[in-house]
């Protein structure tokens, strides 16, 4: 599913050079559920962005579904994101002027899927995520848990193989947070590869495989039993 080899990404903060990712190697099989933990600035988000093709590494190679992604232009990367990757963000990133349903359908709109198919797919997810009576509402009229469920529906509507979640419960109370996590895990149970970036130790510990990051390096990978 995912293969990184010596992926490096560095940023310049004034004079200082910060290693977002420092020669990271990583392999993730299809259907895996892993969490990425580590302090702020350890490179978790950079890893997520690189995996999500939102950011391009300075060096190293990244294969997604055995396809090399290095050197792809923005159009091809957008197409890969559209077909293979779903995102869930801490602050939901719903478009406030669109209704929940319109937000869910947005990726299909961008992909040019015709309205009949769009309705079928979104109805399926709305049903499954029990958003039935809320779909005509705008995000401002929804609770945090509902918003995050809408965001998950939006991430799943293109039927991606990989779901990247950045602090998906960070803005939620424990009850809605637990609901969201259960939902994500349920999807993982159906074969979706799930990668969760979090500060939350309890959430991180739920994943069968946990990565710990520090200074742009993966310092622990539970799949390899300790330090990498």
């Amino acid at each position: 599913m995912i293969r990184l080899r010596e992926v490096t990404r560095c940023f310049h903060l004034g004079e200082q050079r910060v290693m977002g990712l420092d020669a990271v190697d990583l392999e993730v099989a299809a259907g895996e559920y892993l969490s990425v933990m580590g302090p702020s600035g350890s490179g978790k988000s950079t890893l997520l962005n690189v995996l999500g093709l939102l950011d391009a590494p300075d060096a190293g190679e990244y294969w997604l579904n055995s396809e090399p992604t290095a050197g792809l232009d923005e159009v091809r990367r957008a197409a890969l994101r559209s077909r293979h990757i779903g995102f869930v963000f801490q602050s939901y990133h719903l478009i406030p002027r669109l209704t929940a349903l319109e937000n869910i359908e947005l990726p299909m709109l961008l992909a040019g899927i015709e309205p009949g198919e769009r309705r079928r797919r979104s109805a399926e997810l709305v049903e499954r995520l029990s958003l039935g009576d809320r779909v005509a509402h705008r995000p401002a009229e929804l609770s945090g848990g509902q918003r995050q469920r809408v965001a998950i529906a939006r991430a799943m509507v293109m039927r991606p193989a990989l779901l990247l979640a950045d602090e998906p419960t960070g803005n939620l109370d424990s009850h809605s947070g637990a609901e969201v996590v259960e939902l994500l895990e349920e999807l993982n149970g159906e074969g979706l590869t799930l990668l969760v970036v979090t500060h939350d130790v309890a959430l991180g510990a739920r994943a069968p495989r946990t990565l710990r990051m520090l200074d742009g390096r993966i310092i622990a990978d539970s799949a390899q039993g300790g330090a990498a």
Partner: protein
Amino acid sequence: MRAADAVALWFGALRGHRSRSLMLLLAIGIGVLAVILLTGLVEGARSFVLDEFSLLGRNTLIVLPGRKETTGAVPPLTGLAPRDLTLQDAQAVARLPAVRRVAPLQAGLIEVSSAGRSREAFVLGTSRSFFALRQLDVSQGQMLPELPLEQAEAVCVIGTTLRRELFGSRPALGEWLRAGDRRFRVIGILEERGESLGMDFAELLVIPVASAQALFNREGLFRLFAEVRGPAQLEPGKRQILALIKERHEGEEDVTLISQDSMLAAFDDILGALGLALAGIAAVSLLVAGVLIMNVTWIAVSQRTGEIGLLKALGATPAQVRLLFVGEAGLLALAGGLAGLALGELLLWLARLLWDLPLAAPAWARAGALLLAFGVALLFAWLPASRAARLEPVAALRPPGAR
């Protein structure tokens, strides 16, 4: 992305940012409105002038005493004033082969009174041919009688305003009125025709030319209207008249000939240039609207970086992001342009209704204003939209505080 979906997104974005949309709508609307109104006014003035001069008739020449054309040469220091145009000149012109009829004109202001009411009136001394020449008719009574030009007669035809002011509700036909030191019997009332060539027919007192010469004690004619026998006779007519006057005026070609075509051409040139200039000024307001579009689109792009990042994360290509922002601007320009056009047409229509002026924006101005508004919007939105398209998705997604 399907076209219908793109349009739906544009509309959604415009509705979602109401005040911004309204502001741009207004700017573009005013720009288009300015183009429509200004070109409408000029076009109205133009067709007004054209109509006025068309009333003169294609076959009519106006002969003015004196050489009005400027030539390069130093004027001869003869010390002689131009010779008057006389009734004999008029009669001679009337006998030319190319000329069908001639109406001499003597004119002046004089005090007119009847039964205690008096006012100043514009007196026109002419002949019966004048009525045919200017396609003028009477609504009551008759026109001036067919007379030898040098014969005076104490009759007059008056305009409707003059009739009302001198006679009120009393019948005027057959009544006498006093003009200066002479009395004239009213034999006809001119039909309503409004102003033509700066002459308000409703205010006129028309008398035989010889009577006017006596009234003003002046021999020389104000001008001469000559109608040629057909369009083909216009040039020969001009030549013959000039040759005749030269012969009669001791070798001096001391008259000026004006034809409808020459006047029309002059006015058409002036008003055409004026129209273009005003359309240009109005177009500048559209450019200003364009700059506003650019600024507001810049702001929109900055405010909506999060949305742009999200769209990219959801698989939007740079071209799609650009299309969204450019499309919004284009849609606004179209809507604002149409609104401005509709308002402009409405105002012109009201003006036509209220003042009976032929005000109408020409088709090129309507189409041009819309196209310009649209083009300017696309052009000026392109830059900020391209910036949005180039934004790194990861940079765009970062919350503002972390940037």
